[in-house]
Subunit: 469 residues, 2 copies
């Protein structure tokens, strides 16, 4: 494709993109295709000769679009949002054009230095301590793995990196409600899932610090080495907030790495009135949150903060001859701050997004989302046929329909969810709390308005009343 | 930013993008800024109020662009290319607009099913065995870590995932020339770098299979469990090709996982005449190559193939309640095929790139690149003041200027490289071979023409003759 054709087709795409933003609510939110529907439309063999872009765009519209679940829709209330904003998309256009692979300073100094400053911006925006240093990672899964590995190496004076595991047995702690990526990281890092202690939670699904300390002391008495506590600001099921401050004290007392997983809810710390969630965070060793979830920044972009960047770099640094540069002593080579060598120019997205909204603009949106969460919680609480299943500190609401026999409620609620998701009008997901099937709405889309939440609530009530138990 | 403004600004960006493609050779290839030059121009605090996109684009041009190293330039001959193509950039525009997070089938069925078929296309394009199943990863670093972890778990019946390491000591093998990501993965997976045996290489920097087997047998005799051999089709320094077939036999004989790292050179397997490099690959357990290096696909996009997908999934699967869907039994949920939970819709890029060129179009470009590599190797070989430092099977050429005392050659060659890189006309890097400083040119840019390589060679000769030893 020559540049002239690119210019023409890229202009066509811009109109497609803008039209999509305008019409996204017309699509079924959850894709309505069945397994295999897309696959059978894609030829089994690659074409030998070039095809026209017009044909490619036609196929994209005809074949791919029906198979897309619309994360961009304000009626997407499943999982946590993977938000974006128009400034973020514009940044992605520039990033993909430059195509810079930002593994080290020299391979694009602007990427490294903008990343450093964007992490400073985010640190201050969230009210994190000045003693924290930030780096961009792809996802929170990876950042949490980095935390566990750094804890492992710091505690052993880097001896596992050198000699592998020895007879020492380490233990890791999180609440029962922690994200599955912690289980995965514990396995990858070689501890074995049996080393992960799931601490009991209180009625609000937050970790009980006394139970944590009991486990730590029992493990110490049994000869284990307590290594790391992963606490959550906003668990995945219910956005429960673990008591960071008390957990921090316990970690300091027992010399344990404290990693704070604020993947989703970290963004809410832009609001001074939400900083109760992070009280005591200055005692933590590491903290992660995802601008790609709730801060309007295209996936992927994770912000990982550490108190001691030297131990992070010591855990990951490797400098073969072919990567050495004359400025290595004077600059940050972020390849040594995480797992993959190659890195995209993700800082550009943050720069565009934060300037697009301004800090006050971001605050206004987050405040609105939380206000709508509280509103829906009140509505559900006041309705005799529904019950809230967890506290609602932000904009994730867990509840269920209760009109029927207890033994039928799981099936009934699942039927409500499936009927609505299959309608294409709204997409949300489930979780399980105390063994019960729970409807879970998480709404934080960039373009969410009050009416989207009101409509969702209306639709759920109507659907529930239509379904026979 | 409303949609109308987005439409306007995105059209402006398209013109910027097309202009960039037309003018990329006018920029200094390697950024000429000094450490701190960019950082000091970025405000230390985030703006409270929104800023205009015009201001953002102005700052991008004024502040960021001088700090960009131009991977898009055909005069970028450093490292390995992180290539792209116009079709790939168009795909990135659509991907960022949809913003789908493709962690599992339901979150965008089209992404999962297109990924499956694109991996089939690539498998056939490279002449890989039908018994291989593919999945997209972010980078080869991550894929290699996946290989080591799967080998670890399969060999222990998943007991390290469950219980952590025990007294068993594993060993891993690669040549001395293997990429640094293998060292990193060995550390992360908990083996300790002492477990990594670096096998001696022959004069062409390829692994000597007899030396490999000697090490394996010695380790077995000493009570170690040989776990995995990482061989290379195209090492990073010189694109040496390890004897995959012989290594495969040794691995089968000793029941060792064989992972083939073809990160860069895998793309050359689109050429039937280059398939000598992959002879015996059907005996391997896993194989990785990066379409984001030499196959014109925007970073990041890594293709990872395995013989036994069940063991891959068993190593990584975790299904919390909030991720369960009703179709889990019928579909591929690629979150279980690697480390991060979140995934971009990368398959779209492959679909666009392969159709943009057609397989024959890709072959034509790769053939030209290899032909230019051979040409430059002959030129250097024929020149009395230069010497080739390694065989040139493809388009990476390692050589040095030799007019001077041996004791001065390292300094002299480094001076040549720095002078040229600082001129902005060409950017290449160094490696070290047998303790000697070596100039290394790797040219595989999408838009590379013969004159780019001829000019580079001319510039190197001129610069060498100007520098006083």
């Amino acid at each position: 494709m020559d540049t002239q054709s690119f210019r023409k087709h890229a202009h066509e795409l811009v109109d497609w993109m803008a039209d999509y933003f305008e019409s996204v609510e017309d699509y079924p939110v959850m894709s309505q295709v069945k397994p295999g529907d897309i696959l059978k439309q894609i030829p089994t063999k690659a074409p030998n000769q070039p095809e026209s872009f017009d044909q490619m765009l036609k196929d994209f519209n005809d074949i791919i679009m029906p198979g897309v679940t619309h994360w961009e829709s304000p009626n997407f209330m499943a999982y946590f949002p993977a938000n974006k904003s128009k400034g973020s998309v514009l940044a992605e256009m520039l990033m993909s054009t430059l195509g810079a692979q930002c593994m080290q300073w020299l391979t694009s100094p602007a990427a490294a230095e903008l990343e450093e400053q964007m992490m400073n911006w985010l640190r201050e925006m969230l009210g994190l301590p000045e003693s924290f240093t930030g780096v961009i990672q792809d996802t929170a899964s990876t950042a949490t793995l980095c935390a566990l590995l750094t804890a492992r190496e710091k505690a052993t004076n880097y001896s596992i990196n050198e000699k592998g595991f020895d007879e020492r047995k380490f233990t890791i702690y999180s609440s029962e409600q922690i994200h599955s990526s912690i289980d995965k990281a514990v396995k990858i890092a070689g501890f074995g899932i049996e080393a992960l202690r799931k601490v009991e939670v209180d009625d609000g699904y937050a970790m009980i610090p006394e139970k944590l300390e009991e486990l730590i002391e029992a493990d110490k008495a049994a000869g284990y080495i307590p290594l790391c506590v992963v606490s959550a600001i906003g668990t995945t099921s219910t956005t429960a907030v673990d008591p960071i401050n008390e957990i921090g004290d316990i970690c300091l007392k027992h010399n344990i790495w404290h990693h704070v997983d604020a993947a989703y809810a970290g963004t809410a710390l832009v609001l001074p009135e939400m900083r109760w969630m992070s009280e005591g965070v200055e005692k933590a060793d590491s903290f992660v949150f995802n601008p790609h979830k709730w801060m309007f920044t295209n996936f992927d972009c994770t912000a990982y903060f550490v108190k001691d960047p030297v131990s992070l770099v010591n855990t990951f640094t490797i400098t073969p001859d072919y990567l050495k540069t004359s400025v290595d002593g004077d600059v940050k080579n972020y390849r040594d701050w995480g797992i993959p060598l190659g890195r995209r120019f993700r800082a550009l997205k943050l720069w565009f997004v934060i300037r697009e909204f301004g800090v006050e603009g971001i605050r206004a949106k987050i405040r609105k989302h939380i206000m709508l969460g509280k509103w829906l919680a009140q509505e559900i609480d006041a309705h005799s046929d529904f019950e809230l299943m967890a506290p609602v500190p932000m904009n994730t609401v867990c509840f269920r329909y209760t009109k029927g026999e207890e033994s039928q409620l799981d099936v009934l609620n699942e039927a409500i969810m499936n009927k609505i998701n299959n309608s294409g009008k709204l997409f949300f997901t489930q979780t399980k709390l105390k063994g019960k099937f729970v409807l879970r709405l998480a709404f934080g889309n960039t373009n969410l308005e009050a009416f989207h939440v009101e409509n969702a609530w209306q639709l759920i009530q109507e659907t529930a009343s239509e379904i026979k138990p």
